[in-house]
């Protein structure tokens, strides 16, 4: 990699207008790591793997084979921009490498305007607040998505 940072896409963020691309410096390379060990541990079926690859093949992203921690170490990057995810495995990889790489997790566009850190328990408790902005375009934030500048493959 020619720069010291990358965007590391994961299975919950396979698109090029994710806010992670606004947080990262312009033209930051996007990568996806085909971590066979992880995929196999989850016993994902071929249907699921193919759907992901279908999508990756249509995007300006470099797909790299290998164990995620090893790949990120080999790229010798200082900073990795990661779309926010609930996947515990991504967090584990970031924790393991945090002594040598800075990981910046970037939230997706909001569906509603709510306190991100609140630990909700029941849906209708959430819904009573969410209803105020969920029926507004862009949750009433006035923000519009525009595609960021990306490098070619």
């Amino acid at each position: 990699m020619s720069s010291n940072w990358v965007v590391w896409l994961n299975d919950s963020s396979l698109r090029t207008d994710h806010p992670v691309f606004y947080s990262a410096p312009t033209a930051t390379q996007a990568i996806y790591i085909w971590d066979d060990e992880y995929l196999r541990a989850n016993a994902y079926t071929f249907k699921r793997l193919l759907f992901v690859y279908d999508t990756l093949a249509s995007m300006p992203v470099k797909i790299i084979w290998g164990e995620s921690g090893d790949v990120l170490s080999s790229l010798a990057v200082d900073r990795v921009y990661v779309p926010q995810t609930v996947c515990p495995w991504i967090k584990d990889v970031a924790d393991r490498l945090s002594h040598k790489i800075d990981f910046t997790f970037v939230e997706d566009e909001p569906l509603v305007q709510l306190d991100e850190g609140k630990a909700w328990r029941r849906f209708y408790q959430y819904w009573n607040r969410a209803e105020r902005t969920v029926f507004l375009p862009n949750a009433g934030t006035g923000q519009q998505s525009t595609p960021p500048l990306l490098p070619g493959r």
Binding site: Y44, Y53, V86, L111, V134, S145
Partner: protein
Amino acid sequence: MIEYLETDFENREDIIAYVRKLSPWAEGNESCIQGGAAHMNALLDLLEPEKYGRTRNFGNGRVSRLSPYISRGIVSLNSVRNRALNQSEKPERAYKFIQELAWRDFWRRVARTQPELLWKDVETYKTGFDASEYLSDLPVDIIQGRTGICCIDYFINELTTFGLLHNHARMYLASYIVHFRRVRWQAGAFWFMQHLVDGDLASSNLSWQWVASTYSNRPYIFNLENVNKYFGDLIDTSGEANRDLNMDYSSLHSMLFPRLGVTDVE
């Protein structure tokens, strides 16, 4: 040494062959559901939030089929909501559709702030049984879709063949596994994540807990009459082909939860 994988292909058959070579251990065949933004955009163009609201619970209802694209982040919840608003005369006509998007947002928020809940029981089962009384593994007849209950086998076949299942059918199947067969929800949730092209850890696992009653006030159960109402046009819902489900809710409740008193459960 960094090993970059191929991204230029002549056609989809080449992608299929390439992924087979990359991960030869992966079970099953390709699904007709194809990834990529172009396919997602085609579905967005067909979005009919009002019809969704009226028909979404039916097996042949006007659902969006956007779920795999939302789960894999090919489109954001925000973009889908904006499109739904654009395609509805008034926001309230897209109410149910947007509320379903909110359920996803809710599950994600729960999983983000409390990741330990993804695989652990949030609460105890409200079924009269302790978690230790549930099987840890899925029985083979379920994995193979040979339970002998016609509608359940149909749903299992949909799941394993296409990697996609109507949301209502997911609830039936989850309820059957947890309550009729007394299997821990985690076994079913892992199985769903393996197969579902739209497998989303937060939505799927926490919904399993909702059905199981470890994240709701009571267990979700269903009977044949309910399946017939929503899937009767698609599946053989005769009593003979679905014996174990063919009873009223009161009898079902007594059979499934003998340690509980008589309650209204649906």
